[in-house]
């Protein structure tokens, strides 16, 4: 009896369960492959067997062990974390602003982090790793300001208000950043390497410092997904469906800030990753955020690690910054995706 009262199950769409499950599994495999590549490839290429040995049964003093455990493993873990963070944050940002050209740095995060890093350089913070806390604090302050402005108006934090407030605060902060840099070539010299975005030169501590924020952000993002689906129907409908709109927005923005802030603090702004990966993931999963967010996170990790590996290979023995590789290789792929007939699922 109870079964007959349930609403009719909707006809199975092309993007129903099994296909999305396959996509998720395929992406997880891709991440695993990218991790192995990232551990094996570099100035000295190791075989997968050597990598396996170095990870599972390290021999102190062996060269392969030193390369893998001291150099490549920390970098790979960092790339994995940052890629997951930016992929998930990108999907959340585009969902909450309902704007396909929103990148995770939009809510003032990248500009806030950059401004704080320049302040840090001025105050004499040392080395790239010294900027982590500056960048994170800057990202946090800027995005709280953006959300406060968007939330403080009548009508609350609507998608347009969030996007415009984010854009305005970002422009304002980057104007301050640029005015400092224009007067100070020494700072520009340090800053231009930070702003291009890279995984190299970060010591082991960085991944440990940012990982709690990224894990918390990922959990919040998954928790936010059902509410974000409802918000996609419009705020009035979402409210009618019993969603607490303001709370859902606040949770979403908090997740975006934790994820992007931590990622930017660790690697500099690699906003492009969070911009394109959700579009690619959406082509696989459709617009359901419960699937989109995990798929986007995994795709982000796979793409970032692959770009990093590529950056080590193309100009051996030197390295090309990950941000540059991402743009140069990722963007043509993205354009090809967008050009496919059903390549892009509109928001």
């Amino acid at each position: 009896m109870a079964a007959t009262l349930r609403p009719a199950r909707p006809a199975r769409s092309k993007r129903s369960g099994p296909r999305r499950g396959t996509a998720l599994a395929a992406l997880a495999t891709a991440v695993a492959a990218a991790v192995v590549l990232s551990l094996a490839v570099g100035a000295q290429t190791l075989s997968p067997a050597e990598v396996w040995h170095a990870v599972v049964a390290p021999e102190p003093g062996a060269q392969a062990t030193a390369i893998v455990r001291d150099l490549r493993l920390p970098r790979t873990i960092l790339g994995l974390l940052v890629g997951l963070a930016l992929g998930a944050a990108g999907a959340l940002t585009q969902g909450h602003t309902r704007n396909p050209i929103a990148d995770p740095g939009l809510l003032g995060i990248s500009a806030g982090a950059a401004f704080a890093v320049v302040i840090g350089i001025q105050l004499g913070a040392d080395a790239l790793t010294g900027y982590v806390w500056f960048a994170f604090a800057g990202a946090l302050l800027a995005s709280v300001l953006v959300f406060g402005i968007a939330a403080g108006r009548q009508g609350g934090p609507t998608p347009v208000a969030l996007a415009l407030a984010g854009m305005a605060i970002s422009s304002l902060l980057s104007a301050f950043t640029q005015s400092i840099l224009l007067a100070d070539d020494a700072s520009l010299n340090v800053f231009r390497f930070w702003v291009v975005g890279s995984l190299s030169g970060r010591d082991t501590g960085v991944a440990a410092q940012v990982s709690p924020f990224i894990v918390a952000g990922l959990l919040l993002a998954l928790f936010n997904a059902p509410a974000l689906n409802a918000l996609g129907l419009g705020e009035d409908v979402a409210r009618a469906l019993g969603q607490r709109v303001f709370a859902a927005r606040a949770v979403g923005v908090a997740a975006i800030v934790l994820l992007t802030g931590a990622a930017t603090a660790a690697c500099g702004p690699i906003g492009f990753l969070g911009l394109v990966v959700p579009h690619a993931a959406r082509a696989l999963t459709g617009p359901d955020h419960r699937w989109l967010i995990p798929c986007s996170a995994l795709a982000g990790a796979a793409v970032l690690l692959a770009a990093d590996v590529l950056g080590r290979v193309v100009v051996r023995p030197a390295e090309l910054q990950t941000g540059i590789v991402l743009a140069a290789v990722g963007a043509p792929f993205f354009i090809a995706l967008v050009r496919r007939r059903r390549g892009v699922v509109k928001l």
Partner: protein
């Protein structure tokens, strides 16, 4: 073209022969006030500098009077710079209004058409490879902007142009080009990188008549075209099917709008570098001041001229020992104003 059966409240009908349109009283007031403010800023700005001239004398010189020294300072030194600021502001803001309307995206600016990034790559390449003294910088910027925009348009073409696809392709192409800029900046000597950064922030300092003339000629053609396209823009802000059913030939109309927006932005960027923020913020400010459903083109142009000329005045006068690039001041002035409008407004504005 788009017959409005019901005249919206607050709009008046204007007829000129067979053409007719509706104009809202509010946008007329905003436009007139903007023009007056722009004129005032321009006159004050011409008078400011190491050789100060009273506003009354400035007007006198502009009307053909004044002493020899005053004429030299005003006409040869300061007027070209002020005119560049006015024209660049108008061009960028109009271009932004067109872009935001037909992409139906308030975050869009000519950046997403590839113009700005392409121009940046052209200019930075010349600065780094040939030195900043090279006169080829504006030309390289113009060429880079047009090439990148053509690339975006061609890559986004797939049995027609779709606004959604265009902005995404534009972002992709923009990112490739931008990574080229970063690559040059990372590889360059720090001296060249610093000079390139100055150009990248947008500046009207050192503008002379040789720069003003082509810019003015371009605007004399493009601004009327931009205003004329706003008739079709009115229809383009809707869904594709609605637009078609209103009798607009979608692809030609869209091509005309894109071409106009690209040409306006390319002209401005090659003259002054990417004074980017103007193209994004001014249409949104104009929209919130005038009301309505999309950024008004003409009022945007007027307010753009006002913002850039006022920012240039501030850039020249606030810090006596060094001059900020005007592109930074537009952001410092424009962003808080947009935020204030955003917080204050209780109307629902969608575009």
């Amino acid at each position: 073209m788009t017959a409005l059966l019901v005249r919206p409240a607050g709009r008046r009908l204007v007829r000129a022969g067979r053409l007719s349109t509706t104009v809202s009283a509010r946008s007329v007031v905003v436009g007139a006030a903007g023009l007056a403010a722009t004129a005032a800023v321009a006159v004050v700005s011409i008078g400011q500098g190491s050789f100060t001239i009273a506003p009354a004398d400035v007007v006198d010189v502009l009307l053909g009077g004044g002493t020899g020294a005053q004429r030299l300072v005003v006409l040869d030194l300061r007027l070209p710079r002020i005119l560049t600021a006015l024209l660049v502001g108008a061009a960028l803001a109009a271009s932004g209004a067109l872009t935001q309307t037909f992409t139906r995206n308030p975050l869009a600016s000519p950046d997403v058409l590839g113009v700005t990034n392409g121009a940046s790559l052209g200019a930075v390449a010349v600065i780094v490879l040939a030195g900043p003294a090279s006169g080829a910088v504006p030309l390289a910027a113009l060429a880079g902007g047009l090439v990148a925009a053509t690339l975006v348009y061609l890559l986004a073409w797939r049995r027609g142009i779709d606004g959604y696809r265009l902005v995404l392709v534009g972002l992709g192409v923009g990112e490739i080009v931008q990574s080229g800029v970063s690559w040059f900046l990372v590889r360059a000597e720090i001296v060249d990188a610093a000079r390139a950064t100055v150009w990248l922030n947008g500046s009207v300092a050192g503008a002379d008549w040789a720069q003003v003339r082509p810019l003015a000629a371009a605007l004399a053609v493009l601004l009327p075209v931009a205003v004329a396209t706003s008739f079709t823009l009115q229809a383009l802000q809707f869904d594709d099917d609605v637009t078609r059913s209103l009798g607009v030939r979608l692809q030609p109309a869209r091509l005309a709008v894109v071409l106009t927006a690209v040409a306006l932005a390319a002209a401005a960027v090659s003259a002054a570098g990417p004074v980017e923020f103007v193209a994004f913020v001014v249409p949104q400010i104009a929209l919130r001041l005038c009301g309505g459903s999309r950024p008004p083109v003409l009022v945007s142009a007027i307010l753009g001229a006002l913002l850039v000329s006022a920012a240039d005045l501030a850039a020249r006068t606030t810090l006596p020992d060094r001059e900020l690039p005007v592109g930074l001041v537009t952001a410092i002035v424009g962003a808080p104003y947009l935020l204030w409008l955003l917080v204050r407004t209780n109307r629902r504005v969608s575009a």
